[in-house]
Amino acid sequence: MNNNFLDFIKKDIEAKKTLISTLPTKTMTNKKKVNSTIDATKGKYLDYADNVRNYINAKKNAIKIPTSDGNLEQLRERVKHLEYVKSLLNPINSYFEKLGFDTLLYEINNYYIFNFHSLNDIINGFLDKFEQAGILLNSDNFDYTCYVNEYMSSFLEVRRSKSGSYARVSEIFEEIYWTNPELIEHIEINFRKLIRTNAKKFQAYIESMQRDVMTTYSIASYEDCLMKLRDAYIELNLASSESLLDICNLALDGAFDIEQYFKDHKIRIAAYSSLIPDKIDYNNEKEMGKICASLEKLKCNVEEYSDYIDFYALFKDFKDQYTSVVNSKEENRSLAAIVAEINKKEEELAKFNRRIGKSSIFDKREMSVKRLKAESVCKAKELYELYKKYDLEYFKDKVIANLSSTMSVSELLELYYSFDYFKKLAMQKVYNITDYNIISEYNDRFDAFATNPRNIVMTGVPIFESSDIPKIIANKYRLNNINLDEDDLSSENLKPLLNKILLILRTNKIENSSISLEQIWFIVKANKLLDGK
């Protein structure tokens, strides 16, 4: 009895191949004989294949990968709630950003560039926020120009009816557009005026929300919230650190080649020998535990540094823009002057609009009314330009309030994160983006970087001074027994470095678990084979 099926198969296949290759093939009878031998052999081997496949499947299913039974969902919810409280208590920005007006402003502001699917959604977004704060707007509030009033009266009617049918609103837009192509811009500044005139109500609304969430989540102050958030993140990070199941799924998805994780594979040998000093015994659990604890931290630092490189252009742009300001330490007086000018001009515009009265806006017989309307549009246009200036000065004002010669990247991340509108404008400019989806993608990546609780390097990287980050990181880890030089941290070497770190961390995790590397390799191979069938 031959008990090793692999040996048998190898020998049998060899013998069958020899037999088939030596069979005569000259005549049709010969050929039929060859084919019948092949068919008989194939039948037998299909049978073998079925049996082996079933066995592999059973064997694969029998491997149980330990899973964490942690309360991940609960921890994620806690972090989400605390992030929300943090955003409400954020001392840097105002009710304007806290309510998300700046995000809507960015959208309506770039309506033409990004070709949004629905202007209605943006307008409804503004109206929703007013209603949230208990402010019910009516058509009289939209008096910037007679065209804004005409359009918004129709819009509000549809909104009140809840029919969702904006066909008539679109028709009115079409009619107005040829007389007043800047209609959307004027709707925008009408909203901005309304937001400003209702500032106290919005502020009171935010304060009541702040009180509510502080009571609900037992938060004493913004600082208290930051501390609780940090603790919540520590718990979450611990519970959500890469598990054996995650490693297995990554291998199944092809995120890395599990073959490279075997002890004798040259990639593994190279990873270990490049990062771990020779004196360390890889089999010593305690020593390797220390090394892996350092590598875990290094991994976070490398990911953080990689994010920094990704957004370096944004930081440099900020530096170029504000180096002269940080040195001059001048107070920004322009904002107040612009606000005064806007107020004055808006008053003039309101008076002007009252003169137009309630005549039909398409009444062509009334030439004087027509001229007044045209002048009203011109004034609105001037105001739109003033608002543009206001935006620049508003952000400059916020920047100056937080600016210092020692400002760190981490502080700048917080600043941009607090001012969505200006962050997106800066990205649009620096990366020359004209596609809304790309802006969204950059924005999401930036926000993930800005709120990453594992960031630590950025707290010490100054914006206005030069800093050799690779040197700082490499020096730190050399002290922790990790072989690392500045070259390893050059932008093109970051990905290979991360792969090496991950390889060591994962193999160490697997080798200290109840499951073997070979079992994970088997699951990956078996899945591939079984899927291929």
Partner: protein
Amino acid sequence: MKKSEGKYEFDLSQLSLKELIDVYNEINSFLKYLDENKLEIGSDE
């Protein structure tokens, strides 16, 4: 793999995980070889 009426009786549990995959690969590549070596039946020369 056990075949009571057959000539051989194999116990797949004797194989390591790696050998199991090897067996499956050997069988499949041989099945491919068999398909490739089937002859076209024409008329007698």
